[in-house]
């Protein structure tokens, strides 16, 4: 109630004629008359001075006209804010898996802030299996996660696939290994893994090792990637790292190893809550950027 009446009233003030209002709504004259009457009865004020035939606005009508324009402007503003094309406002709550929370991501987020100045950003890093429930809980709007597995069959991650990346094995050059070490040889050295490595790489690795006839030998479980690499450099284990990240390293004491029979890969994907509204385009923009750079150095 009331907004349509206000529109009619403002139009009347602008055109000066009920007829003209009726044509532009479009409606019949009686309908417009009744809308105006309805508005007067809702507000309990005489808005029109009907002593003359092209009725004039009363002084109360003048005052109401000003306020009516404000109301309609506010309604337009609301519709604009509701439309998916609107400039995103508010805060985008973004989750990122630990392993990708690096400088490259920071660049992307900075660019996001530049692209959408009105948008606040709230970042949360966590493991894939932590982030996904938080999206379901409505705590996050979107998250960059990954799933890992054998190169042939990575468990398909939910959301949009941003990139597929190989996971490489890194071992110390000084370690006594042949040119093409087998998986079991590497397993004897032991693996340096991330603790809650529930993104799939650990299980794929375990499956491969066990099918080769040995139990998975975990040499170390640490969060910090720098520590993982240091351990590997010291020959205390074999570390796993996404290919791009490994190539960006300046760790000459490490060598990359490709054991026969096992190629691990991971899929980076962007998961989002449904119904993001205007935030959707920001998420889309981020997805495109992250996919576009394809995490190439």
């Amino acid at each position: 109630m009331m907004i349509t009446e206000l529109k009619a009233f403002v139009l009347l003030a602008e055109t000066g004629s009920v007829q003209a209002v009726a044509e532009r709504l479009p409606l019949t004259q009686p309908a417009v008359t009744r809308q105006l009457q309805r508005l007067e009865s809702l507000l309990d004020v005489s808005l029109l001075d009907r002593r003359a035939k092209p009725a004039r606005l009363t002084s109360a009508g003048q005052a109401v006209l000003r306020e009516a324009r404000k109301v309609l402007a506010a309604v337009d503003e609301l519709k604009r804010a509701a439309s998916t094309n609107a400039q995103p406002q508010g805060t985008l709550r973004l989750g990122v898996v630990h392993a990708l929370a690096d400088a490259q991501l920071a660049d992307g987020l900075e660019a996001l802030g530049a692209r959408y100045p009105g948008l606040g950003l709230q970042l949360a890093s966590g493991w894939t299996n932590e982030l996904l429930p938080r999206i379901d809980q409505g705590e996050l709007d979107a998250a960059v996660v990954f799933m890992a597995g054998t190169a042939g069959g990575v468990p398909h991650a939910p959301g949009r696939l941003l990139a597929t990346e190989e996971i490489v094995f890194l071992a110390a050059r000084k370690t006594a290994l042949g040119r093409h070490p087998t998986l079991l040889e590497l397993n004897q050295i032991g693996w340096v893994l991330t603790p809650d490595g529930l993104c799939g790489s650990r299980s794929a690795l375990r499956a491969a090792v066990e099918s080769a006839g040995a139990p998975l030998h975990i040499a170390a479980e640490v969060h910090d990637v720098g520590l993982q690499l240091s351990l590997a450099e010291r020959g205390l284990g074999v570390a796993l790292l996404p290919r791009q990240r490994a190539m960006a390293l300046r760790r000459p004491q490490l060598r990359r190893i490709a054991p026969p029979g096992l190629r691990l890969a991971m899929q980076v994907s962007l998961v989002q809550a449904p119904h993001l509204g205007a935030l959707q385009q920001a998420v889309d923009w981020l997805a495109q950027r992250l996919a576009g750079q394809d995490r190439q150095p």
Copy 2:
């Protein structure tokens, strides 16, 4: 359409429960649910994340919530402006008869401006018979006018009676007149009248003189009251003036005369257009002040 839905939505955001909204509107739960659905469909946005049972607002919902509050605030503002109790805004277009457009009125108008700071004032002076049509034409909101006639029967003026005032006769002391001159004696000197004296005093005077057996002898017709008095002082005619105004004069050369058989009077009244809305209280205030002072010096 839409405002009731926005109310429901804002209430939902505040209470967090459809149930609570339903109780406070008051409505049944299904009705509230449908209002929310309707709003979503009107805006073509998902406002609620229904994955959880006490449904949460989506990010789009957050944005819409902000704008919805603005809309409702604007609507409240409109209702306030429409209410008769609202602070008068805009311009009060006031007409005043020439004869009352004096310093005393200026005081009243100044006080009006002080009482209603938001109110603009547009003053028009004119004759009663000019002002009344302008009210009908919607050019004026109110006017202070008067009607004159014999003391017994002043033609009743439209609008509110503010004051009844006697009209006195002023003649030069030096004029050869008895202690109680008759109407015909005064008529022989002649009358100093205002030209468009259509407010009644002239016709009452003419009727009285002619019934006494002589034609109305007009010595001068001038607008300016000062000139009228100067002419009277010089013995060139008899001037007519409201009693209060005459008593405020410092014209020792003039004497006040009360001819037997004719007492003229005038009624000051305030006429207004219908449907003034919030301006009404300003008019009421002015009427009360003008009547309250009763034009006593």
